[in-house]
Each structure stands twice: as C-alpha cells, then as structure tokens.
C-alpha cells in the first residue's frame, strides 16, 4: 500500500492542477459512449423490469381469445408474494452456504496461482496458465453431460477408483456433498479467470519496485506477502466484488446438476426461481420482482463490501 499511495496522490494532485484548467470536458467526452450504452441497454431495461415488477397480468374467465388478458397495476403484491415465499429464503440460505465455500476457495487459489506464475524460476508457466484458464472457456452447453459423467456413481471414474481402493462412496449429488459438488464446478470454472485478473495486475507492477526489496535481501515469499499482495489489492477488491455478485446470482452450476439428481429443485437458487418464473411459467412480472429483490440484496452486500474495502485501504495509507 505504502508504495502506491504516494503515486496515486501525485496523480490526483497533478490532474487537479491542470485538469481544472484544460480538458474539463474531456472526461465527459471519454465517458459518453459508456453513458449512452448504459442508458440504452442497462438503465432502460432495468427501468422496464421495475415497471414490470409493479404490474401483473389479469385474466378474465377462461383467458382464451382476444382481450382476455390485461396488464394492471399490482402495487407491491409481486414483492410481498416473493418475500413471503419460503422457497426464496431457503434458496438464499443455500446460496450463502455455497458462496461461503466458493468465494474463499476460488479467490485463494486464484491469488496463489497468480503469485506463483509471477514468481521467479517457476517452470511450465505457459502451459499451466493456459490449463487453469481453460475451464472458463468450456461452453455451458455440454456442462450437464460433462458433470454427469464425472459425478454420477455408475459412470464416474472417481467412484471407480474409490471402489477399487475399497473406500466409502459418498453421494456427490445430495445433502452436504452436493454443496461441494456445486462449488467444485464454480471453482473449476472461475479460478483461472480471477487468476488472470490478478496476474495481469502483477505484471503491470514496475520491476523497479522489487529492486529495493531484493537488495534488502527479502525472500520471494516476503516479496509476495509484503509487496505484491498489497500492490494488487485493487484487483483483489475487484475479484471479490464480482465474486459476491456472481454468487448471489448463481444459476449455471445448479442448473447444470438439476437434470442429474432429485436433490436440486427448479428453485434451488433465487436466480433459478427468476428464470423459472420468467421462462418456465411465463410470468415476467413475478420474475422481475424477485430479480429486483436480488439486485437490492446484491447492492447492499457488494457495495457494503466495496465501502469496507475502501475505508480499509484508506486507513492503510500513510497520509
């Protein structure tokens, strides 16, 4: 931290000095494309989703024929329905349990691998870097098949090995092990992605920074702990921030395992409920309300984290 702080301050000071005089409009021009895209493809759809969440379809009689359906104001009924649905709360709890496994494991491994890729005298970095990233690139279309072949007792090579060794064979798709099976998919798929984020940050640290430390006789381990990790702190915050969001919006992993077992319901996670409402039951209104609730919870948790991380970073600064 100490190393970055002076420079960050210098940046701010320098820009304040001249930025006030010239290029006052420059940042707005630079941000214009993002602003337009945001307005069109985020703000408007989000607004529409909120509008949807406050309405509902009302059907008359048999609901057949023209004019049998109309969209009417629903007030907060979609929200109260969602919040009183015990399935949503259960789903939220399941997701918290899942996130408690996934986030630390995935980011811990990502940081570890990134530091090792960046360390000196490490071999095979190119191959391993690609290998660890590759799961991120495997398309989800075949995920259920893939994990079916690896998790289902009758076809899994792991069960085969356990059987040969005479070890007990847990049911990977039920109870406690199910959480680990789901987490494993997420860790497998996400570690490489986060590793690359941290690794790229490590690569952009100017080499001179290490010189002094090295001359002082710091070991690789000490350099990693005292210099590298603090310097990539912004990237760590970023990966944490987005991992929290990804956890609260978890959808792909349980959806992958759903067809393989009786233990994953169609509403296992809150976002699965959203999907089920919108695409299974065709009730966009209920789906939108649940989505807004998820978004608000995500907002509280992720931005709360961001605030906590920022205040810690600022406390760490000497000046």
């Amino acid at each position: 931290m100490t190393t970055t702080a002076p420079r960050a301050n210098a940046t701010a000071a320098a820009v304040r000095r001249s930025g006030a005089r010239r290029g006052r409009s420059a940042p707005f021009a630079f941000l214009a494309p993002a602003a337009v895209l945001f307005a069109l493809f985020f703000a408007l759809p989000i607004g529409y989703a909120i509008w949807l969440s406050l309405h509902k379809v009302e059907v008359k009689g048999l609901g057949l024929g023209k004019g049998a359906r109309s969209e009417v104001w629903a007030g907060l009924t979609n929200y109260t329905d969602a919040l009183t649905d015990s399935e949503l709360l259960d789903g939220a709890l399941r997701v918290l349990g899942y996130g408690a496994i996934v986030v630390p494991t995935m980011l811990g491994l990502a940081l570890l691998f990134a530091l090792m890729l960046d360390a000196d005298r490490v071999r095979l970095t190119s191959v391993t870097r690609l290998a660890i990233f590759l799961p991120y690139a495997v398309p989800g279309v075949i995920a259920a098949l893939l994990w079916g072949f690896l998790y289902l007792p009758d076809v899994s090579p792991f069960y085969y090995v356990l059987d040969a060794l005479g070890l007990p064979q847990p049911d990977l798709l039920d109870g406690g092990p199910l959480f680990f099976s789901l987490s494993n998919i997420a860790v497998w798929g996400g570690t490489g992605f986060n590793m690359i984020v941290i690794y790229t940050s490590l690569r952009s640290i100017p080499a001179e920074v290490y010189e002094a430390a090295r001359l002082d006789g710091c070991s690789q381990f000490q350099i990693a702990l005292r210099i590298k990790i603090p310097m990539v702190a912004p990237s760590l915050v970023l990966t944490f921030f987005f991992s929290i969001i990804a956890t609260l919006q978890v959808f792909a992993e349980p959806t992958t395992l759903k067809p393989l077992t009786n233990s994953v319901s169609t509403t296992w996670s809150p976002l699965m409920k959203v999907y089920q409402d919108a695409f299974g039951n065709g009730d966009l209104h209920a789906a939108a309300a649940t989505a807004v609730i998820i978004a608000v919870v995500t907002l509280a948790l992720s931005f709360g984290f961001l605030r906590a991380a920022n205040s810690r970073t600022q406390q760490g600064e000497p000046r």
Binding site: A10, D120, L150, V197, Y199, A207, F279
Partner: protein, 309 residues
C-alpha cells in the same frame, strides 16, 4: 536484481510452451542460482493445471467416441469415432456448424474489440481525471451488473424490437458492448500503469487530451486491455441467453445456440450428443489460440517502463 533483468531481457518468455521450458538465458554475469527450479510453486501450478484439465480432458476423450461408445465404455477411455464425428458435424445441415462458428467469431471478435475500446476510454477517464460526480458515475456503471442479465434480456428484446433490430447481428452485439467489469478493470489498470506525471508532461507540451490518451495512455494500458479483450471474447463466445432471446434465424446463431438446437430436438428425437461434444471441443480451439496469442502482451512492463523513464 538479476531476476528482474532476466524478466526484462526476455519479455517473451512464457509465450509458448517451448519457450517456457527452455532454460532462462543467463543474464549479465550472474550465478547458476537461476538454473534451479522453484519446485514448490511449479508443483502447485502443475497440480492446479491437472485439476482444471481433468474435466476438459473428458471433452477431448468424449469427442473421440462414437455414439455407440459414448455411454457404454469407461468414461476416460478414448474411442474410435473422432474423424467420423468431425465428418458428421461437417455434414450436418450442409456444414451449418462452421457458419455458427463464424458467427461466434464475429460476435465475439467484433464485440470484444468494441467493448474493450469502450472500457479503455471509460476506465482511463475514471482513473486519470478528477471531476465532479466521478465516483457516482463509476458506481452507477457498476450497479449495472446488479440486475441479473436473465431479466434484462426480455426488455432488451422489446427495446430493439421498437427499432426493428431484433433477429439481426446488431441485436446480439449492441447490448454486450458495455461491460461494467471491463470498465472497472480498465480503471484499475489505467491507474496502475499510466503515471500522472507523464500525462501532465504531455499536457505541458501542448498535446490534446485525445492525443495523450491514444499516444501515451493506450500503449501503457495494453497488457490490461488484452486481458479485458480476452474476457469479453470468451464471455460473448459462450453467451447463450441473449442470442437465444434475440435471434430467430438459425443462420445467425452463434455456436452455443446452434449446438443447443442439436441437444434439444424435442422429446421424441434423441439428442445428437456426439456432435455437440465434438462441436464444443472444436469451439475450444480458437479460444486456446487466442489465449496463446494474447499472453505475449502480458509481458509489456518493459515497454511501459521505457515510456516512463
């Protein structure tokens, strides 16, 4: 000190597997210390690689199996049907798979390029200018990821339908151009890689803001930007829901959606598993090539260092 020299003198080390395995070139008269391999980290990385590759290896093995072997032979036992699977995939509806692959390449390549550009200018502006509402702008952009994409796809469809753009290439491209993740990442990389004093010096020389960005900021951000490009490319390449909602014309489908039509053929028609697996395997190849190509840009600290001094 010496290790730094080694890293600087061989920026391309680690570009290809071969280069990584070659012994590091001895730099200015220093000891055989570097010839030792750091065993523990290497072993940990190899372990991680094996963990990650195992399920990928299944894709590879399964793609070699004929439809007959797929469900009947041991999971990791290679089969005999690889060439036949490729031929079948190629023959399926007159080779429409290649068209999907081309579509995917277009969506992902073009989309990632534009998206990276948007991320770069936005991230640069957010990192290097201080202006009223900066944090607010940043936070609002970030808040865009809070609403699950699942629920945005339908409004996005209805919106594009108003301007008659659904079922077009643009309908899949446009909503993906802004990536809050990319903007955040670009901001971090820009504030780490572009020193304010260099920007200030350029200003003193009378360079315009745009020129400073393209000539000084952009080159320094390259390692970060290629990462953003890579992420966006893979994200669009594997994106499913948006094209699913937007596109009706299977000639415009990306690969993921196309393969899905082979899987979900209705309850009375069995899924074409072998074709889907083979298709998914082939779809990995461009991503591997992209990764290998892109990773050479991660060693550009030499370049940014040179600009700084």
């Amino acid at each position: 000190m010496t290790s730094i020299t080694a890293r600087k003198s061989a920026p391309a080390a680690g570009t290809t597997p071969g280069a990584a395995q070659a012994p590091p070139r001895p730099a200015a008269g220093r000891p055989p210390l570097r010839h030792r391999i750091a065993l523990l980290p290497t072993a940990a990385l190899v372990l991680g690689a094996v963990y990650c590759l195992l399920p990928v290896a299944w894709v590879l093995v399964a793609a070699t199996k004929s439809g007959r072997e797929l469900f009947s032979t041991f999971t990791f036992l290679p089969g005999t049907g690889f060439t036949e699977n490729i031929a079948d995939l190629h023959a399926y509806r007159d080779g429409i798979y290649w068209r999907w692959m081309g579509n995917s390449a277009f969506y992902a390549g073009f989309g990632a390029l534009l998206s990276t550009a948007v991320s770069a200018v936005s991230g640069y502006a957010l990192a290097l200018y201080r202006f009223p509402g900066r944090e607010a702008v940043f936070k609002v952009l970030l808040a865009g990821v809070l609403m699950p994409p699942v629920i945005l796809a339908v409004p996005q469809y209805l919106l594009l339908a108003k301007v008659d753009l659904t079922d077009s290439y643009l309908s899949v491209l446009l909503p993906l151009l802004l990536s809050p993740y990319g903007v955040y990442l670009a901001r971090i990389y820009a504030s780490a890689a572009v020193p304010a004093d260099v920007v200030e010096a350029a200003r003193m020389d009378g360079a315009g803001e745009w020129r400073i960005f393209t000539r000084i900021g952009l080159p320094m951000m390259v390692p970060g930007l290629v990462t953003i490009f890579l992420f966006q490319f893979v994200a669009i390449w594997n994106n499913f829901l948006l094209p699913y909602i937007m596109l009706g014309d299977d000639e415009k489908f990306p690969m993921t959606l196309g393969l899905y039509t082979l899987l979900a053929q209705g309850s009375n028609t069995p899924a074409l598993y072998t074709l889907v697996i083979t298709g998914a395997l082939l779809a990995l190849l461009p991503l591997i090539a992209l990764f290998l190509f892109i990773q050479r840009f991660w060693s550009l600290d030499l370049l940014s260092g040179a600009v700084k001094s």
